[in-house]
Amino acid sequence: MAQDTLDLPLNFKFWLNKAVAWGQATTFESQQDVCLHLPQLQKFLQQIYETLKHMDFPVAIQRFPLIGQLLGRLCWNPFVIGYDENQKILMWCLCCLYCSEPRNPIELEANIWIRSLLCHLLSSSKLGPNEVGTISQALGYTSPDYYPKLLKNMVLSLVTELRVNHLNGFSIRKIIPDRPVKAMSLLCVPLLTLPDILPLLEALLTYHGDEPKEVLCSEFLEGVNEAFLQKKIALSESAILSLWLRHLPSLEKATLNLFENLISRHRNFPQEMECFTKDSLLPQAACHPSIFRIVDEIFRNALLETNGTSEVLTIIQVFTRCFVQAFQKDNQQLKFPLKSYFPYASSSLIMVLLQNPKDLPIGRWCQHLNYISETLQKIVEDQSIQSCGNLFEHWFLFIHFGEWADIAAEELLMLRAESPAALLWLLAFYYNPCDRNQKRTQTMVDAREAHGCIMKLFSRTPLSVKDLQAVAGESSEADTRHPYIQRLMRHLLLNFLLLSPEGHKIAQEFITTQTDEIANEFLNLIAHTTYRWRRLGIETLRPGKLARDLLQELQCYRTKSVLL
């Protein structure tokens, strides 16, 4: 393909051939071909301009004898001119070639030609496609007055037509057959980012033919999704829902895009994560169960492939929180039972997990956690005779509402739990769902021991980093505990650091002695804990400020160490 090589003359030939073949792009096939090549063409034009800008006309003509033919043909192709920044770059190219003081008839001719092409592009001399310019001109208006209005009215007319057609969808006679709708969607491809045509895009996206077959062309659907993901257009929720429902690749791409952005940019900033997630409109669209199930499927794969990394867990939890908000807001008119979102999980478990901690008095959190733990235990014990897949489904559901696991860890350290065993079981299940019965007994023994060790730290003054390292198992030669138990232990330890005054004093020192990976895990936990406190409105009861300071110090420290 042309862009694979940096050989400009070779590319030049390729694009000139294309321009000749396209003509003014009158057939559906040539239009499709233009649309396919538009992004590459823009890159090529940029390249040409970068070369031309250092040349005067004679040198340019020597280097590219057919430049006039290429530019002229492209300027007459509305697909090319309508796309993104093509028209701008073509204008720059033409401006480069203009001779300030023409020395021979060729340069004189070229100047006249350049001017006529520019006038054609901006149509200041000839308004409108037909002879309609006369009236506008007689009124004293020029193209900047005319085209925005014309375009608005064209869009309005087409939108009305589509809507009428849609309403008449079941009547015998349709105004527009599906083929022109397809052609319409293709013609919109170069114009996607032009704000004037947004109403047309939305009308097309919500338009359905009477056949199950897709009436919009895939170039259009992909293009709209791409422009939306790059934030070049702002679509309404209903339009984007319609796009994702009718075009699965777009939904997958949107979900992966969310993943990439959350992981690469917003990892340690839960508030940003939440804003970005909401802006993606995915949680809102997920109020439609079909969308939710597909997004959830992608989450499930990510979780399995990464073996449950904390980043993926966090993303699932943030997404679920946004989804629940949208669902509850939406559900006044709606429509779908919760079971349609989580078809494999028990309804009673869905209901208890869905309980927002904010809506419960703090004193009843432990009771609620006990209830979650009991419900899950019952299911897991039943699991012994059922398949492992079903166990996974319940764990996967619990993961969505991981906030309850965080609260369990906190309650364990604050000694508010009447039966710490139930909460420890919940935490152990969160970190290691796959244990068989016998192994789970061992896990519970380990978990209890870890909890006991940490609780003892409360009475130790002064506390040293060494004490913490001993508990974390770093002083012994090889920590034989299972990695899941180590993660559980770190979760509890972090809560200790935040909640005990002694622990807080040495928190930074301790965390900076950890490996990068573990330090990151701590940082992530602190960020999410402080954000949770703030969200639940319990910050004043907790050493929230201390935690925030710690977070800030650690972030500074890490930035410095990365720079060094």
Partner: protein, 390 residues
């Protein structure tokens, strides 16, 4: 403020000159300066568009300038394309200037080269790169919108001038017409402008646009620059701007008659339903023309004789459409028909009075005691029933 108004005045002159052959003598420096000036006025527009008093003063200044220009050069001197006519125009001053120069074949060589240099990205501009790129970007956007209209035009139907495109084009021109009337500097100027357009433009098309403008629903004034919301211009541009149009039409019998003759009956009825003064005028005309129809005994039909060549079918269609309108218009139309029928002697037999036959056609022929006399004859309508006077 005075200084600003003076600059406004100068710039309006520069802009007007940019489209004349005088601009042929401009060199690089003149082009550069005029563009800088345009940028400055764009800046003024951006700064004051939300400030009522300054904006009002500038608008007043512009109105004064136009009156002054008209006093010098005759009415409608500011009617040429790309002139500075309104405060909103200041926001596009640089675009108007650039397009004016580009369009002007007298501007050549270094002067045009200078203009084109301003359209390239790498030009160094010490005093405000944003404004510079602003002009470039807005021109590119214009080219993009033009291409978009070309593409969408294909969707409005097949062929080079698709059928569905016509209403869209007409509506656009109607909006511009209303805008233009709104921009006129003083009461009375609108009539002069409309007189000129009546003479200058092809008739049927122009009257279509006038009709469309009268039928446009009152709408919020469309924004001149979509990217710049302009709260000061959110006045209604519907009925109020249509008023001078209506007044002009009522004062021009020839225009009214052409409308009445050429407009499709349903459109004529919509106009009449919207404006009672027009309803009266149309009904008067139709009555007047209808009275000139005579009954052709051989063919058994009503035929037109007047210069307007009004046919029976056309007359019938118009009254049918009027009768489908809201009650007031329907009643008025029926009243006219009945008055004329009475004037003709209230004959009940067909073929004697065009009004009786029209009422019969509309199903409204119920003069008391005449029902039995109103039986239509087959081939030869009741011309022999002359004795049936009530």
């Amino acid at each position: 403020m005075e200084l600003l108004l003076e600059q406004l005045e100068r710039f309006a002159e520069v802009l007007a000159a940019s489209r004349t052959r005088h601009a042929g003598s401009w060199g690089r420096v003149a082009v550069r300066r005029s563009l800088r000036w345009a940028r400055y006025l764009r800046h003024v527009h951006g700064r004051f568009r939300r400030r009522g008093p300054v904006r009002a003063a500038l608008e007043e200044g512009l109105r004064g300038l136009r009156l002054q220009a008209e006093a010098h050069a005759g009415p409608c001197s500011a009617s040429g394309p790309g002139q500075l006519r309104s405060f909103e125009g200041l926001g596009r001053a640089d675009q108007l200037l650039a397009l004016g120069l580009l369009d002007n074949a007298a501007v050549q060589g270094p002067a045009l080269h200078e203009l084109l240099r301003h359209l390239r990205p790498e030009r160094e501009e010490p005093e405000g790169p944003e404004d510079e790129s602003g002009l470039r970007d807005r021109l590119a956007e214009l080219a993009r919108r033009r291409a978009a209209s070309q593409l969408l035009l294909q969707l409005l139907g097949p062929g080079p001038s698709p059928a569905q495109a016509e209403p869209v084009l007409r509506r656009t021109e109607a909006e511009l017409l209303l805008l233009r009337l709104h921009e006129e500097p003083e009461v009375g100027a609108e009539a002069l402008l409309l007189d000129r357009l009546w003479v200058q433009l092809p008739r049927p098309r122009w009257l279509d646009v006038v009709t469309e403008a009268l039928l446009l629903q009152p709408m919020p004034r469309p924004d001149r620059d979509e990217d710049e919301e302009d709260p000061g211009s959110q006045t209604d541009l519907g009925q109020s701007a249509a008023e001078p149009l209506l007044a002009w039409l009522l004062a021009h019998p020839a225009a009214l008659a052409t409308l009445c003759r050429l407009l499709p009956a349903p459109v004529l009825a919509s106009l009449a339903a919207g404006y009672s003064a027009l309803a009266k005028a149309f009904l008067d005309l139709l009555a007047q023309w209808g009275s000139r129809l005579h009954f052709d005994l051989i063919q058994g039909t009503w035929v037109g004789t007047g210069p307007e060549r009004l046919s029976w079918e056309r007359l019938r269609d118009c009254f049918r459409c009027f009768c489908q309108c809201p009650a007031s218009l329907r009643n008025e139309a029926l009243r006219v028909l009945k008055d004329y029928r009475t004037r003709d002697g209230s004959f009940g037999a067909p073929g004697l009075s065009v009004w009786t036959d029209l009422l019969q056609d509309l199903g409204e022929n119920e003069p008391p005691g005449e029902a039995e006399a109103a039986e239509p004859g087959a081939e030869m309508p009741g011309i022999l029933d002359l004795g049936c006077k009530p």
